[in-house]
């Protein structure tokens, strides 16, 4: 990769990380800040300063290695930006997963299936897959080739936005879920009273028949 291509990747990944950081602070249910990715950003900044100092002639050249030194440091900066992105993406996906779990927990699977028709077939597997893939990428030491980093970030950034869409779809469905659950509960209550009434009537009828048998046999 040439210098311009690496710089383009750094800038794009940096902005994607910033976008997710802003979003993730809104979605954290405990309203806490996640500072861990900022260490990666500080390291990236350190490598960018080295590369720029070298390029503009501030750094003393050793063995005419200007291009090599610049590209090596920009590559390292890109790796740190990539790690910062996945730290932030992991944090946002965890927060979204927690929110989705909490929103749906009060409802039965039948209610969820009726209101959110695609939940069990599409949404749930997708949430599971995205959160686990991001968690694995974050934990992985090997980050892959330099030219594969930007496409990977763009892919997971898009996946996270799909997760945000799923979350808002669930939030919008909550009033309908509550209504259906309430209807189901009153139906269950009615069913219980009917069953209870039938048991009482059967008991009384049995008692009456036994009494009749007792009266007529003596």
């Amino acid at each position: 990769m040439n210098i311009k291509a690496v710089l383009v990747s750094i800038c794009k990944i940096h902005e994607a990380t910033k976008g997710l950081t802003i979003l993730s602070e809104e979605f954290d249910s405990e309203f806490l800040s996640f500072l861990q990715p900022r260490n990666e950003l500080m390291n990236a900044y350190q490598h960018i300063i080295r590369a720029v100092s070298n390029k503009i002639g501030l750094r003393e050249e050793k063995n005419n290695d200007v291009e090599d030194y610049t590209i090596t440091n920009l590559g390292k900066a890109l790796s740190h930006e990539y790690r910062a992105f996945f730290d932030t993406a992991d944090y946002l996906s965890i927060s979204l997963r927690k929110k989705i779990t909490e929103e749906l927990r009060p409802f039965s699977s039948d209610t969820i299936k009726t209101v959110l028709v695609d939940y069990y077939s599409t949404y749930r597997p997708r949430i599971d897959r995205i959160t686990k893939e991001i968690a694995n990428l974050r934990e992985s030491k090997d980050i892959g080739k330099t030219d594969e980093l930007l496409p990977s970030v763009e892919r997971y950034n898009a996946e996270l936005h799909k997760l945000l869409d799923i979350h808002s779809c669930i939030i919008n469905a909550v009033p309908t879920l509550m209504e259906l659950e309430k209807k189901q509960a009153s139906k269950d209550k009615k069913g219980f009273y009917i069953k209870f009434g039938l048991v009482i009537i059967t008991a009384l009828a049995t008692g009456f028949v036994s009494w009749l048998v007792a009266v007529f046999t003596h």
């Binding site: 806490l32 861990q36 350190q46 699977s109």
Partner: protein, 65 residues
């Protein structure tokens, strides 16, 4: 800063960032009057490494409804 001093520093790293622990958080709150940064940080509203690790593990282990 002259060129010699600059060249001595350029390839050195910043001191390594220590893990964010509960004592770091308490110290940040205690010394918040000296701090010009964000309000959340001065109030100690940030994840410590250990707390986040536990939180993350718990959420990933909890099955979705």
């Amino acid at each position: 800063m002259d060129k010699k001093e600059f060249n001595q520093l350029i390839d050195k790293n910043f001191p390594e960032t220590k893990p964010i622990t509960e004592s770091t958080r308490k110290l940040t709150v205690k010394e918040s009057s000296r701090f010009r940064g964000a309000v959340r940080l001065s109030l100690g509203m940030f994840w410590t490494d250990e707390k986040y690790k536990k939180h993350r593990k718990k959420i990933l282990r909890t099955p979705l409804p």
